[in-house]
Symmetry: C2
Subunit: 274 residues, 2 copies
C-alpha cells in the first residue's frame, strides 16, 4: 500500500532492486491481477508475502450483510493461503448507520471470529485483529486499543487469533507497551506495522500517514517494545499518503528502506550529542 502506484510486477521488480525480500499485500491489487497469477509472480520473484490486508468489517446488523462479510472473509483466508502468507490482518468495522452501541458491535466481532477462526486454521492462516486509532471508531473499526483487541483475541487459541501492532494506531496509548507484553507472552503478536504520525491530518483522516522519521512517533522505542515481547517476525511499513503515492514508486520504496534503517534499526546519536 505504501507504493500502491506500482503494479504487482513493478513492485516485485522494485523489491528486487531495493533488496526487499518480504512484502505485505492488499487484496484489491491481488484480486485484480488474479490470485493465482499474483502468487506465482511473487514466488518467481523470490518474495515472501508477510501478511494479506485485509479481512474484517464484521459489525453489520443486517443478516444479509453479515453473511456476505463472512463469505468475503473466507475468500480472504483462501487468498492468504494461496499467496503463502500465514497472516490475514483484520479491520473489524465501524458502527452501522444510526447505531451507537460500541459494546454490541465489538461483541459481533467475537461472533464472527467464532465462525472464521477454525476455517482460518484449516487453511494455515492466523487472524490478526488490528486496533485502529480511536479517530476511526465510528466509521472503520470499533476496536480502538490493543487491550480491546486482546480481549477479543484471547477468546481463541493464539494460533488462530492474535493482533496487529501498528505504531500509527497505538503510539498515543500509554497502556500499549504493557499490552504488547501481554500479547507477546501468549504469542499473539501476529503482525507489526510502522507509520509515523504527522499533522495536520487531511480531510477524512485516512491518507496522511507519515513517512518514517517525519513525525512524532519514537519508532525505535516501539520496536524495542515488540522485541522485548519476543516478537521476531517481519516488520511492515504501511503508509497511506497521497504525497508518497504521487511520487515515483521505486524512489519511495528506496527512501522507505533508507528511513527504516535510519529511524528503526540504527541507533542514532542524540541531536545535542557533540
Amino acid at each position: 500500500m505504501t507504493v500502491r502506484q506500482l503494479s504487482l510486477p513493478e513492485l516485485a521488480e522494485a523489491c528486487r532492486a531495493s533488496g526487499v525480500g518480504r512484502v505485505g499485500l492488499w487484496r484489491e491489487p491481488v484480486r485484480e491481477y488474479g490470485v493465482e497469477a499474483a502468487a506465482e509472480l511473487v514466488r518467481d520473484a523470490g518474495l515472501t508475502v508477510t501478511t494479506l490486508c485485509r479481512g474484517g468489517f464484521f459489525t453489520a446488523l443486517d443478516p444479509g450483510e453479515r453473511a456476505a462479510a463472512l463469505a468475503d472473509n473466507r475468500r480472504a483466508i483462501d487468498e492468504a493461503a494461496a499467496l503463502g502468507t500465514d497472516t490475514l490482518v483484520l479491520v473489524s468495522g465501524g458502527l452501522p448507520p444510526g447505531d451507537k452501541d460500541l459494546r454490541a458491535a465489538r461483541e459481533r466481532i467475537a461472533d464472527a471470529l467464532t465462525e472464521l477462526a477454525p476455517y482460518a486454521e484449516d487453511h494455515g492462516v492466523r487472524l490478526a485483529i488490528e486496533p485502529l486509532h480511536p479517530m476511526y471508531a465510528a466509521d472503520r473499526c470499533v476496536v480502538s486499543t490493543l487491550a480491546q483487541a486482546l480481549d477479543l483475541a484471547e477468546r481463541f487459541p493464539a494460533h488462530q487469533v492474535g493482533v496487529t501492532v501498528d505504531t500509527y494506531h497505538v503510539w498515543w496509548d500509554d497502556q500499549a507497551p504493557a499490552q504488547i507484553a501481554r500479547a507477546g507472552a501468549t504469542g499473539r503478536i501476529h503482525a507489526f506495522q510502522l507509520a509515523d504520525w504527522t499533522t495536520p491530518l487531511p480531510e477524512g483522516v485516512l491518507n496522511g500517514r507519515g513517512q518514517l522519521g517525519d513525525g512524532s512517533i519514537d519508532l525505535r522505542e516501539w520496536k524495542t517494545h515488540v522485541d522485548s515481547a519476543g516478537y521476531t517476525g517481519p516488520i511492515e511499513v504501511e503508509l497511506f499518503n497521497e504525497r508518497l503515492w504521487a511520487r515515483d514508486g521505486r524512489e519511495v520504496l528506496a527512501e522507505t528502506a533508507q528511513r527504516f534503517a535510519e529511524h528503526v534499526i540504527r541507533r542514532g546519536r542524540p541531536a545535542n550529542d557533540p
Copy 2:
C-alpha cells in the same frame, strides 16, 4: 464557542431569549470585550459563568516559553475569578517541535500544576484537566484519556485539580465509564461537556464536532455515567463546527437547547417501538 458568531452582548440576550441561565465562556472574546466589562455584562444579564476555557499549554521545553505559559495561566485564573466561575478548563499542550517523548511532556504538565494549583486555590478557582481525543496527542494535548488526566489530578487536592469529561474526546474509550466513577468518587469531575461525533472529519480535525443527536455518541448514556458518579454540576454543550458558525447564532442556540432536551434529557422511544 458553540455560537461564537455572537458578540458577548448578543450572547447574553440570546441566552435570555432561550431561557439559558448558565454559560461557559472562552478567554479570547472575554479579553477582547474587557474582562471587567464582560463580568458586569453577564452579571447584569443574570447569567452564571460555568467555566472559563482555557488555560494550559504546559509542555514547552524552552524556559522562556514555559515561564510565559505559567504567567498566562495565572492571568486565566484571575479572569475566571473576575467572571465569577470556579472552574478553569485546561488543554495541556502537545509535543514541542521535533520532540517525541509523551511521558516527559505529561510530567511537565504535573510540574506546571504544582506551581499553579495553589495560586488557583487562592483565587477560588479549580483547574480541570481535559483529556483530548488521541488524534490531538501530537499537536494539542498529550493527555489523551481520563485515566491519564486523573493520574495527574490525583497528585493534588480535589478542590485544586480535577478533570473535564467531554463526550467528544472520550466516547470511544471503554475504560472511560470506570474512570468517570473514579473521578466522581473523589469529587474530581469539575466540568462535563457534550458534543457528538460525526464523520468524515474535516482537514485539521478541529471544527467538525457534531450537533447533539447528529452523530455516533450515546449522549444519554454518558450523562447517566456522570450522574451515577455523583456529578450535579452544569452540563455544557461545546461545538466547534464551521457549519454551525455560518448560521444565525440565535437559531443555533435555540436548536442546541432543543437537541439537548431531546437527546440528553428526554427518554426517547426506541426507533422500532410501535
